[in-house]
Amino acid sequence: MANSTDILAEYSDKEYEFGFVTDIEMEVAPKGLSEETIHYISAKKEEPDWLREWRLKGYHAFLKQPEPHWQNFELPKVDFQDISYYAAPKSKPKYNSLDEVDPELIATFEKLGIPLSEQKLLAGVAVDAIFDSVSVATTFKETLKEHGVIFCPISEAVKEHPELVRKYLGSVVPHSDNMYAALNAAAFSDGSFVYIPKGVRCPMELSTYFRINTQNTGQFERTLIIADEGSYVSYLEGCTAPKRDENQLHAAVVELIALENAEIKYSTVQNWYPGDKDGNGGIYNFVTKRGVCRGAHAKISWTQVETGSAITWKYPSVILQGDYSSGEFYSVAVTKNRQVADTGTKMFHIGKGTKSRIISKGISAGEGQNSYRGLVQVGSKADNARNFTQCDSLLIGDRCGAHTFPYIESKNKTATVEHEATTSKIGEDQIFYLNQRGIDTEKAVALIVNGYAKEVLNQLPMEFAVEAQKLLSISLEGSVG
């Protein structure tokens, strides 16, 4: 008995282990959004005129965009004038080597388990770390350079590779796409930029780590990944934030472009602060992620493990433009306490013989609400397009909810669209069975949940799959009586 009580105690303390604040001098823009704010950000980043103009277009689109109202939760009122749109560590904004980075900052990333010092890297993962609004370090730059891979903060890419950024920025998610994407276009602070040249297989996993630290700031990063013909890249993002009583907005945009025969694998392990058990605080994670398979036989695969945020609201999508291109979406979304997730994907079949596969695994515990919302659209030219969707819900306890909203629109008779859905509960029988083999209830739930989510976790790069498994177990600690 004592044994299992100890485990419980240990985990209840472990609620959200990344909730600390780093004490570092920050330069924070005055609150509120206006044309002046945009000029301020643009000037801080020493941006060219075209980018400033693009931001302003985004700003005006944002003003005109109505608030969405179709989501399956009550949209909290966000006071956009009460947010600061730029926060950066005060010391030198640009770093040439890690030695120049504020030690406090390095300590923070070490606490988060992000290995910034290259010699410590075992896994061979190149990391770009974004702290509030600026990118603080990108590791392995030189090795990547040898292969012609560009992996840098987007602010740097704007200066050093303007032709690429200008060509592709906003080409998948336009500045006026939706309210939050428009807000991002206007105010995006930093983010990662990746370019993989023709025929290059990126020699290592690329990874970006996002951290919101400063109070009353929003995070609006923008990621742009371009895989040129016949290239391959696997990219992973991770995120955490301190515990705060007020909600913080995270409105990111990710654009992926895969040219002919290219493949992009994009994985997310999202662990933003989810708020406390009564629903106070937490991150609003309102993100627009979209990729386009521009050439024939291109492939884009989204994998997400969503355990954090008060509200997660996003639909990583793929536009299957090139013939025989394929899109995949693998998702595990966990909601507990008062967390809400309204997530899924959109697959737009435009080219011939395009394929898509959607595997969504929702897990609801406590009073969490979990919705899968997905659109499979087959255009008139998409002969022999195929889609397979499987969307499963797992319920833990009797106060949570699981909802499924699949939309299928097909304009082509030769298309095959399959949809399977299941809802299950973790049964007392299953838990008792595991208990009877000496496994306590907490571990039993972790085992069952990881088994349930296995198909998705298997998609993650090895070292992150282990992390994600742990994260799933920890985020469900205490959710079974």
């Binding site: 009877q436 306590d440 085992l447 990881n450």
Partner: protein, 254 residues
Amino acid sequence: MLQIKDLQAKVEDKQILKGINLQVNPGEVHAIMGPNGSGKSSLASVLAGREYFDVNGGEVLFDGKNLLELSPEDRAREGIFLAFQYPVEIPGVSNINFLRTALNEIRAYRNEPALEAKEFLKMTREKQKLVEFEAKLTNRSLNEGFSGGEKKRNEVFQLAMLEPKLAILDETDSGLDIDALRIVSNGVNKLRSDKNAFIVITHYQRLLEYIVPDFVHVLYDGRIVKSGTKELALELEERGYDWIKEPVSTETVN
């Protein structure tokens, strides 16, 4: 090893166990027989710690410890194993991963170090062979899509891996064809030693031809109404259960 004294348990308002007395010593095999609804499986569940049952009288000592105070997982770690009548399916969790977790939890409770992967695999291979369990089933998801017989054989395989002091087989013979019955029984017989004990719950004498018990008890209406040796099982086979339904004084063998 196990002492059950006047054990009573109910579900809601229904009294299921009405005063069970039983002593099991190391090296012994006890068979518990009885008609449907007499409380056989309930006794197994109560001993394993299923919360569904409300224990409202009596005591159970296991190696001198008050068993009823322990959580189900601690009972398992102390060395009680229940081979389920209806083993559950757990999709996505491989049999082998499940077993390694279980084994290491039990070892941790006993302050033993976790088994190295190599040792664990060696042990798995040996035990598979011992109880004639197919290797391909070891890597499949726990009981998912297993036939009735495969599930029961998996219970015996787990029994072999976890090496409990006391194993309770709850109608392990139900739903088995004659070949599977033989494999399961052979497995159990190979695992018998003078250090462990078995409680075998069954409807039929048939199983007891393979797993020969030292004692046979007849459970009826929540009480052990008759105890004897293996000949009692034969008598039951011949005469059915009706004759024991007459009021009989509760006698225990030990």
